[in-house]
């Protein structure tokens, strides 16, 4: 998912306060978690819990802001003013999501600058779905439908995760997400009612995005390193494979209504399981993109770094102006 890369070790970006391990505190913490309660920012928490959260929340945040780029690629070319406004509002929302999540991570004693630095230096991961290129306008619809659809599926359970600031950020995000998937599907419906060329464009986009969307849920449960502990801590509530199955089941019907086919001949209803079966996932491709060899990895990161570096003089100027202003005020007083 947006935090699929959790299953990959990461260094850096975490110089927050270290908790002193303490059995009495630990027992209280465990009891709170077991009772389905919330841990708040200033509460004692085990160091591993804090670290895992910083990693998960910041990866999620990075994914939101890197995720602005592939869709942002089409804002200036949107075919109508209505679609331009919708897309801009949607991409802007993703920026907001990044912002809420960085703020949630900051409650754990790391600064946003440190987290961004980890992103910019390649130490932190983000969801590799955003390393795929957006080639036609239909990609904008398919991303809303499939990528946001997959994201929503993962994010809803996180609204009840054990860390209060993260859970509250997710509640806000989920409220906003509901329009993302719908606008994408609506865009595709309109295209499917159009010309053959438009329908081909949609099918082509589905062909390119289906498998990467399925991969967003991360490795199979049996290959997922951190899942067990995260589930115990209530920061990962449903397993990768269960979420993936839920997503596939929900999506097949939507594809039918739309009139597109998924590029998976093995996709079919299994009455015995009560679920759709799907074909084998190409994990080599997944790991290749995660490990930096996707088409967009270099460009996406470069775009983020450029925005950050180009903005340095602006950020510095604002601080310096405020320093001067306060000094002038002091002098006047």
């Amino acid at each position: 998912m947006y935090t699929q890369a959790l299953d990959i070790p990461q260094q850096g970006a975490d110089k927050g306060p270290k908790a002193v391990e303490n059995p009495a505190y630990q027992a209280e913490f465990d009891a709170k978690i077991d009772a389905g309660g919330y841990i708040e920012a200033k509460d004692w928490m085990p160091e591993a819990y804090r670290k895992t959260l910083v990693r998960q929340i910041s990866q999620h945040a990075h994914s939101e802001i890197v995720g602005m780029l592939p869709e942002g690629n089409w804002i200036t070319r949107a075919p109508t003013l209505k679609r331009k406004a919708i897309l801009l509002a949607k991409v802007q929302d993703e920026g907001g999501h990044g912002l809420y999540l960085y703020a949630a991570a900051e409650t754990l004693g790391v600064s946003r600058d440190e987290l961004l630095d980890a992103l910019h230096t390649g130490k932190a991961k983000y969801s590799s779905i955003f390393n795929y290129p957006t080639l036609t306008w239909a990609d904008i619809g398919v991303i809303g439908w499939l990528v946001d659809g997959a994201a929503i599926m993962n994010q809803i359970p996180l609204c009840k995760c054990s860390y209060g600031p993260y859970a509250r950020a997710m509640v806000r995000i989920c409220k906003e997400e509901s329009f993302h998937q719908r606008q994408g599907y609506d865009l595709l419906l309109t295209m499917m009612k159009g010309t053959d060329e438009q329908r081909e464009m949609v099918q082509d986009a589905v062909n390119r995005w289906w498998w990467p969307s399925i991969m967003m849920f991360g490795p199979h449960d049996k290959d997922s390193v951190h899942s067990g502990q995260s589930a115990r801590w209530g920061i990962k509530r449903i397993s990768n494979d269960d979420l993936r199955q839920k997503f596939v089941d929900a999506t097949v019907k939507q594809a039918e209504v739309l009139g597109v086919t998924m590029p998976d001949p093995a996709l079919q209803w299994n009455a015995e399981r009560g679920h759709y079966d799907y074909g084998a996932i190409d994990w080599d491709e997944f790991w290749n993109v995660v490990n930096g060899h996707g088409q967009g990895n270099v460009d996406r990161l470069a775009a983020r770094v450029k925005a950050w570096e180009d903005g340095a003089w602006v950020r510095d100027a604002a601080l310096e102006h405020e320093r001067k202003r306060a000094a002038r005020e002091d002098q006047a007083a």
Binding site: I65, M68, L69, G72, I75, T76, R77, A78, P79, T80, L81, K82, R83, K84, A85, L88, A89, V91, Q92, G95, G96, G98, L99, Y102, W137, L187, T190, M191, K193, G194, T195, E197, Q198, A303, K306, A307, W308, D310, G311, A312, W313, V314, R315, D316, A317, A318, L319, E320, H321, E322, K324, R325
Partner: protein, 257 residues
């Protein structure tokens, strides 16, 4: 150079088209920032301003389409005119360059828009008056936000001061175009559609100069430089903006999106 004399549009239509194209073209420029701002917070702010402008453009071009009476909707006007039929101020089409130039431009333009909308509240064109009532709140916020930034950047560091002064030096000559007298403006003013833009010069200077001073910037002297975007004769930049913006509508004529 003399004032170009483009294909005549009815004064009223011309007036509304200018307003609509200003919002459209600047909204398009602002949308280029999405995902590339100096901080996430400004990504959000710039996004909102771009959305405000696109919203204004939609209302104004829809209205222009009705005035024109040829059944063209907002999208046909936004995406299917040729370059010389756009009537935006040249200032709006200039590239964003850095954040400093973007903020100085927003400040100069939004301050002008505020004055326009204030007067248009009393337009005899009730549709236009309604659009003004909605848009004036947006323009006031844009002018405030951008004006605050101009002060921060002008006063901030040596580098930011230099960049912001350079932005002002670059943009200032284009503001003369705001106030160039045009026959259609006079006609629109006579008909009670809205003020002739030339009437707003003193009020605009009174609004922007104190902020530029506070920003420790030097207001450039007026030069013989002239630009003619609002008459349909543009800079080289508009063609590129349009080729990008119009791409889909040009490539797939008549398709629904």
């Amino acid at each position: 150079m003399t004032t170009p004399n483009p294909a005549p549009l009815a004064a009223h239509l011309e007036y509304v088209t200018r307003l609509g194209d200003n919002a459209l073209i600047l909204g398009q420029r602002m949308s280029e920032w999405c995902g590339h701002a100096p901080v996430l917070e400004e990504d959000m702010a710039l996004g909102n301003m771009s959305l405000d402008l696109i919203g204004q453009a939609r209302m104004l071009l829809t209205h222009a389409g009705k005035l024109e009476g040829q059944g063209r909707d907002e999208d046909q006007l936004a995406f299917l005119r040729t370059e010389m039929n756009y009537r935006n101020l040249t200032l709006c089409e200039l590239p964003n360059a850095d954040f400093g130039r973007t903020m100085v431009r927003n400040f100069l333009f939004a301050s002008f828009q505020v004055l326009l909308w204030e007067r248009l509240l009393a337009s005899h064109d009730s549709e236009l008056a309604a659009i003004a009532a909605k848009s004036i709140k947006e323009a006031r916020y844009h002018a405030q936000h951008a004006g605050d930034w101009v002060v921060r950047l002008g006063d901030g560091t040596a580098e930011s001061h230099e960049r912001t002064q350079a932005a002002l030096d670059y943009l200032w000559p284009y503001t003369a175009e705001f106030f160039v007298v045009t026959p259609s403006d006079e006609a629109a003013a006579a008909a009670g559609i809205g003020p002739a833009w030339s009437e707003l010069e003193a009020a605009w200077e009174a609004a922007v100069v104190p902020v530029l001073n506070e920003a420790t910037l030097t207001v450039p002297a007026r030069t013989p430089f002239k630009s003619w975007g609002k008459f349909g004769r543009h800079s080289e930049h508009l063609g590129h903006l349009l080729s990008e913006m119009q791409y889909m509508q040009r490539t797939y004529p008549g398709a629904q999106w």
